[in-house]
């Protein structure tokens, strides 16, 4: 019986059709495993081998990886959303409504984008918590922790700039409240302590952020460009640096 099955398997894998699809067999060897990582453009950031404890869910909680996955989901769904959305005060709100009611799976698309963004904020906070609890920021990973802190801010900023785009009451007032404090920046905000008299409502830091004295159409455009172009590019660059440093610093930290 076993012999028979082996013969059948050989017959299939030696057939012209099979050989035309798969160029060679799959050997179960360490060399093969290593090449699998080294030759794959998506996987080559991994080292070929890692310490066994790094596989443990209870050590890393998978939170760094989940953060990255959430970022990828928002990138893909975000590009799709951009096909239906115009960042102007006339159209923005109506485009979101149109997306929800008239585009096939438009509501699902919007939901996935929003919940993945919220998910990213949760997972990045938990990731930071676990890196602290395992003391993984200690030598030689000090700098990668600093890169992480910047990534945390970038994640908040990505989420915050996106919050304005639906241009509804929720968006408008959350961003109004969130940027109000910038008025009080010492020296650079017009209501802050030690502000020189030249600093007014229309040239302080809040003005630079909002492109106006209140949240308005220019703010919408500014946040749109930050949200869809500038900040994602920055985040991608920093993540590349972050992952590269995880590897260069000796892989995931461990007890030895």
């Amino acid at each position: 019986m076993n012999e028979e099955r082996k013969g059948l398997k050989e017959k299939i894998t030696n057939s012209d059709i099979w050989r035309s699809i798969f160029r060679h067999g799959y050997e179960n060897t360490g060399r093969r495993y290593t090449l699998q990582i080294l030759q794959n453009v998506w996987l080559h950031l991994h080292p070929p081998r890692i310490s066994r404890h790094a596989l443990n869910f209870r050590f890393t909680w998978c939170m760094g990886g989940i953060t990255f996955l959430m970022f990828l989901v928002t990138a893909v769904t975000g590009v799709l959303l951009m096909f239906y959305y115009r960042p102007t005060a006339e159209y923005a709100f109506a485009d979101v409504q149109y997306l929800e009611f008239d585009i096939p799976f438009g509501m699902l698309l919007r939901n996935m984008h929003r919940w993945a963004a919220h998910g990213m904020v949760i997972s990045v906070m938990l990731h930071m918590f676990r890196v602290f609890l395992t003391g993984s920021y200690k030598k030689p990973r000090e700098f990668n922790w600093a890169v992480g802190v910047i990534l945390l801010l970038v994640t908040f900023f990505l989420s915050f700039t996106g919050y304005l785009l639906p241009w509804d009451q929720l968006a408008f007032w959350a961003v109004t409240v969130g940027t109000n404090m910038a008025r009080a920046t010492p020296v650079l905000g017009h209501e802050g302590p030690f502000a020189p008299t030249e600093i007014t409502q229309s040239n302080d830091v809040r003005f630079a952020l909002l492109a106006g004295t209140i949240v308005g159409p220019s703010t919408l455009l500014r946040f749109y460009i930050l949200h869809c172009v500038a900040v994602p590019l920055l985040a991608s660059a920093l993540m590349a640096l972050h992952f590269w440093r995880v590897r260069k610093d000796g892989g995931i930290s461990g007890p030895l």
Partner: protein
């Protein structure tokens, strides 16, 4: 109560409800590993120190993890719709106006400090402090495994900041702050016309000081004295404490300054809630 349930089930508040479960779960998970390490004196994963191939072992884990997370996200996205309220209207201010949930701890700080401190100085110091952590924590132990015994001070300070001053304040801001940013218990009705009498007074007033100049000076002394606690402890202890010797003067100054700044928030909260203190230091240029 119904109204509280509506608040908890608001689509944008789902992440906070999730956090309510996730944080205790992960604290329990890490506590179990730390306890094992501390009991045996050997890191709980020390025996898993051989090397394995990333393909297939790690890639398989990543794949399974990604599928599970995508399933959760998919179900979440099918079940709960993203909110869309009325079109924005600058003339109609909602009460309360809230920032997105992850900024509510910052918004909560606005109750206790003026905007330039709560909105600018403290966030700046939080960022600087986070980046500084690896450079001021000189303890070489507890690297790459869970433990409590080997680094109790670092864990206590960070956990207090993360759990209490960040997560808890975020939850308070989301669920317990209503119109006028007044505090409402879950079973209370959010009355938009509730008037809370402002009976807060400055610290100097509590001490019977009425003259403005004296009050200004008094405030300066209290704040300066508070931050002088750091150097005083150093002068007093640095000869006898190994911890301080190892830390060194510069690191000590940074640590004590950040530590005292962090504690200033709960101190001000207690002073406000129990003693109705408005400002500690009123000066012609700024108030603290």
């Amino acid at each position: 109560m119904e109204h509280f349930i509506a608040l908890v089930t608001k689509p944008d508040n789902v992440p906070i409800v999730a956090i309510l479960f996730l944080i205790p779960y992960f604290m329990w998970l890490s506590y179990r590993q730390a306890r094992q390490t501390d009991k045996t004196g050997v890191p709980s994963d020390a025996h898993l120190n051989d090397k394995v191939y990333v393909w297939p072992y790690l890639c398989r884990n990543e794949f399974v993890c990604a599928i599970i997370v995508m399933l959760v996200l998919g179900v979440w996205s099918i079940m709960i719709d993203a909110p869309l309220e009325e079109p924005s209207d600058p003339t109609k201010t909602p009460n309360p106006s809230k920032a997105p949930w992850y900024f509510l701890a910052l918004q909560e700080m606005l109750v206790y400090f003026d905007p330039w401190i709560a909105g600018v100085v403290l966030p700046g110091l939080i960022i600087a402090g986070l980046i500084a952590i690896p450079y001021i924590d000189t303890n070489p132990k507890g690297k790459g495994y869970y433990t409590i015994k080997e680094r109790p001070f670092a864990l206590a300070v960070f956990s207090f900041g993360f759990i209490v001053l960040w997560i808890v304040l975020m939850i308070v801001g989301t669920f317990l702050r209503g119109p006028g940013w007044n505090f409402f218990a879950p079973w209370e009705y959010w009355d938009p016309h509730l008037v809370v009498p402002l009976t807060n007074v400055n610290l100097s007033y509590l001490f019977g000081i009425r003259s403005e100049t004296t009050a200004n000076f008094f405030g300066f002394v209290v704040v300066a004295g508070y931050f002088a606690l750091g150097p005083i402890v150093y002068l007093w202890k640095h000869k006898t404490s190994d911890f301080l010797q190892e830390l060194g003067l510069v690191r000590y100054i940074v640590v004590s300054f950040l530590f005292l700044t962090m504690l200033a928030l709960p101190i001000k909260m207690i002073l406000r809630i129990f003693f109705n203190v408005k400002y500690i230091w009123v000066s012609p240029w700024f108030n603290i």
